[in-house]
């Protein structure tokens, strides 16, 4: 039993819904009580879908439990077929139905529907949403592409010369973070370097498309959490290699192009030069002098493994930030994240406990938080600038405009998104110089985010408290502040105040000082600015 305030992932059947909703002509019959229909609103409200997800819920009630829930499932399944006439169906149980063990798969098969039915086993008490999506995609791929797999041992026939190489784009689903635009961006990029997209799946794919998965020369895995298992199976069944680089950030996009070129048998240099590298403004924007102020900004990163790993890389290599925290809720990828964290000299935070993440942010007091919807709220509450980099996301993270994360345009979007919540370079400078000035007063927020000053101040107080609490916890709060020193501290611009407090207290503790005076404050400043 786990005490949970907020969850990063829903149950595995929600993952299956993300796949079904992304596809065309597939219908999902879910054995579930009425309350589970809440999941529809994730799609219709958060993603603003203009259609209901293709899901029929049996909505059994307590009084059905004594009689025949299995019969109810069969009627619902038949009625769903009659009404929606899908090309194929998936059937399964939600957490409650799993306990009553009606075997939706067997029941549906017994109906002899004129379309294929794929049963799903998604253990609700062990697994979570992304796993459910990955498993569903894998089952579907096997069911529809499987029959066309060559006999084991048969080598892959060489591509007919003169034809362009073809790949599948795997992993985009409904409710995924920026999946719609990532697919468009990467398809465009592939087209430019001479690679055709054979099938994109699950997003937009029909059952028929799935049956053609084996036709492509290789697979592009956009989201390993969702498509990893399927890609591995395609590799075994069809000898299709797949990409390992996720094209998030300029450096990774270049590496991705090189990887694709080598899988496609295109010359790498030619592929890279086919791309107008000027399309990415990130490198120049990052080198331009205004960005100097980004140097060493302490950033905390949390999300699904793919986005968290990429964000850390981008933060470090492309923004010049210092990665002070890195973590993921994707336990399946814990090892990769741990390794990456080690490279930044930190320990990865592998958890799906929101409280742990919150405590970590409060303790680290970063300058910027990059995370999911949850971290956005943590940061908002603590008054720390933040940007969203990973699912789960909320309605505002499905923007009307084209805003991919992947590829060169994605890098542009990332640059803007991460820099926006921070102070402008010169502005930060002026604030430091005129800290006593009424216009540049201590609680001033970035001028382009002016209205949030009060929230930020409130957040700061909370941050202070949280930090104090965190330090209490660490047992090193033996230091107290003289009133004058406290006053002096409050003159320091808010975005460095936390750091100043921390450094001063560390300085004092190291020297066995019980009381921080104005002198201690400046001694510490001198000490740490060496």
């Amino acid at each position: 039993m786990q005490l949970t305030l907020w969850t990063y992932e829903g149950p595995p059947h929600v993952g299956a819904m993300r796949v079904a909703t992304a596809m065309k002509g597939l219908h999902y019959v879910l054995h579930a009580p009425q309350g589970d229909t809440y999941a529809d609103l994730l799609f219709t409200m958060i993603e603003r879908r203009d259609q209901r997800p293709p899901v029929t819920y049996t909505t059994f009630q307590a009084r059905d439990l004594g009689s025949d829930t299995a019969e109810l499932f069969k009627t619902a399944c038949q009625a769903a077929y009659d009404r929606f006439k899908p090309d194929a169906m998936i059937v399964g149980a939600s957490c409650t139905a799993e306990l009553i063990q009606d075997d939706p798969g067997g029941l549906a098969l017994a109906l002899n529907l004129p379309v294929p039915v794929v049963p799903l086993e998604l253990p609700a008490y062990q697994k979570k949403e992304n796993w459910g999506a990955a498993e569903t995609f894998y089952r579907l791929a096997r069911a529809f592409a499987g029959p066309r797999a060559p006999r084991p041992g048969t080598p892959r026939p060489a591509r007919v010369s003169g034809t362009r190489p073809r790949c599948n784009l795997l992993g985009p689903t409904a409710l995924g973070f920026r999946n719609r635009d990532d697919v468009a961006e990467i398809a465009k990029l592939l087209e430019t370097i001479g690679v055709d997209v054979s099938v994109t799946a699950p997003m937009g794919a029909t059952v028929d498309d799935l049956s053609r998965l084996g036709d492509a020369d290789f697979n592009v895995v956009l989201y390993p959490e969702i498509a990893g298992v399927t890609a591995q199976w395609l590799e075994r069944a069809f000898h299709q290699p797949s990409t390992k680089t996720v094209p998030l950030g300029v450096v990774a996009t270049r590496a991705f192009i090189a990887e694709v070129a080598s899988l496609a048998g295109i010359e790498v240099a030619a592929a890279l030069s086919a791309i107008d590298t000027g399309r990415s403004r990130l490198p120049w924007y990052s080198r331009s002098v205004d960005s100097t102020y980004l140097t060493g900004k302490r950033v905390f990163i949390f999300g699904d493994a793919t986005h968290a790993l990429a964000a850390a890389r981008i933060a470090h290599q492309e923004f010049g930030f210092a990665v002070v925290g890195l973590g993921t809720y994707s336990r399946e990828f814990a090892r990769d994240v741990r390794e990456a964290a080690k490279a930044y000299g930190i320990e990865a935070l592998i958890t799906d406990d929101y409280l742990e993440v919150e405590a970590k942010v409060a303790e680290l007091q970063p300058d910027l938080v990059l995370g999911t919807q949850m971290e956005r709220h943590i940061a908002k509450r603590l008054g720390i600038p933040n940007a969203v980099i990973s699912a789960p996301v909320h309605v505002q993270d499905f923007p009307a405009r084209y805003a991919p994360q992947m590829g060169f345009e994605g890098a542009n979007v990332i640059f803007d998104t991460w820099v926006h919540p921070l102070m402008m370079g010169l502005e930060e400078h002026l604030l430091a110089m005129f800290k006593g000035d009424f216009e540049f007063h201590e609680s001033a927020a970035p001028s382009h985010l002016g209205h949030s000053a009060n929230a930020q101040q409130a957040g700061l107080d909370r941050l202070d408290q949280a930090a104090t609490a965190a330090m209490d916890h660490a047992g090193n709060n033996s230091v107290s502040w003289e009133t004058d020193a406290e006053k002096e501290l409050s003159k320091i611009p808010f975005f460095v105040r936390g750091k100043a407090r921390r450094n001063t207290e560390r300085y004092a503790t190291e020297r066995g000082l019980q009381l921080v005076t104005v002198e201690t404050l400046y001694d510490a400043k001198a000490h740490f600015s060496r």
């Binding site: 907020w6 969850t7 829903g10 229909t37 939600s94 008490y125 789960p392």
Partner: protein
Amino acid sequence: MTLIAMRSPSDSPMGCDNRPVLRQRGQREVFCGLTSIVWLHRKMRDAFFLVVGSRTCAHLVQSAAGVMIFAEPRFATAIMDERDLAGLADANDELDRVVTRLLERRPDIKLLFLVGSCPSEVIKLDLARAAERLSQRFLPEVRVLNYSGSGIETTFTQGEDACLAALVPQMPSEPANAGKSLLVVGALADIVEDQFRRLFENLGISTVAFLPARAASDLPAVGPNTQYLLAQPCLGDTARALDARGAKRLSAPFPLGVEGTTEWLRAASIAWDVPSDRLVETVRGPQARARQALQRHRELLAEKSIFFFPDSQLEIPIARFLARELGMNVIEVGTPYLHQQHLSNEISYLPESVRLSEGQDVEMQLDRCRSSNPDIVVCGLGLANPLEAEGLTTKWSIELLFTPIQGYDQAADLAELFARPLVRRATLEV
């Protein structure tokens, strides 16, 4: 899969108004009772709601709350895993561990609800026993109660009913010599509560209490001298529990709209022998103010047709208000559950032409809705955008629960909730 049982007046079991009710059995598109935690925890400020359920339950509560991360959320889920399913003894130990950890973190909590879910009910985890055990351990600091918000037992607002029904046995008994007291039952926004308090005072009814109280730890007393008014239509079990404590229900429509509010106050006035001119005097001002505020919306809403999907059980009283005070043409009123006795007043006020439906086959209901092409559809969040995309205008029903709508001074706000989508549709040129 649909069984249509159109009850003819003759086999309708009870009710003063023998109109037919359409009952279909198919997919229901409604929340379960866990959802009511979202407003109950805002109302009872020293109570914590711990759902004992699955990841689905946690995800539901969080999605219904709009992923609104409250600074201090007073609800959480104890998510059961395989090990809890394997052995109930361990599940109980686990629950004790989770509760202990929770109460350590939150010393401000005075009342803890263990909220049952479908999984906890199917595996027969006895939360009543658990609540007793934990109460013994944590009293007097914390009282632990339980109720079910499961989707196999409850729909949406029935969660509030189950919660309040669990509180009733905890209410102190009124002293033997207690005078008459009035109890208003059903969660109301504080501002509405205060308005009603003032109105009752002006009527000379001074001993008035509300259930739930703002602090769960000061529950009002109850007994044979208590008479109660329901402020919400979903409270069947709570009413039964109050009856069992000797309290008497004052039969009245619900305090929605000018008419509903007046009749509701009148029921109390009669029971308290308030002279009728005092009632008239008391409500004259607020009534006039409300009528005037409604006038603007009436111009827009009169003659417009409306279709209700079942959701909160507020559908019937709201339809009555829209039909009688704003002149709307109500096509169908769906309700998840129809409490004939508590709603008899309301139903008799509804125009004959209104189709009443209880329960749901959402696909068939969507067919009916489309074919009747209403000017506005009241439905849940799962249906709203898809219907808008089909060209219909919708009002999300969940807003009816998060907005203060009861009483005179909220009547126009309630009307505005229906006017806004129409105004918006008329304004947009895209």
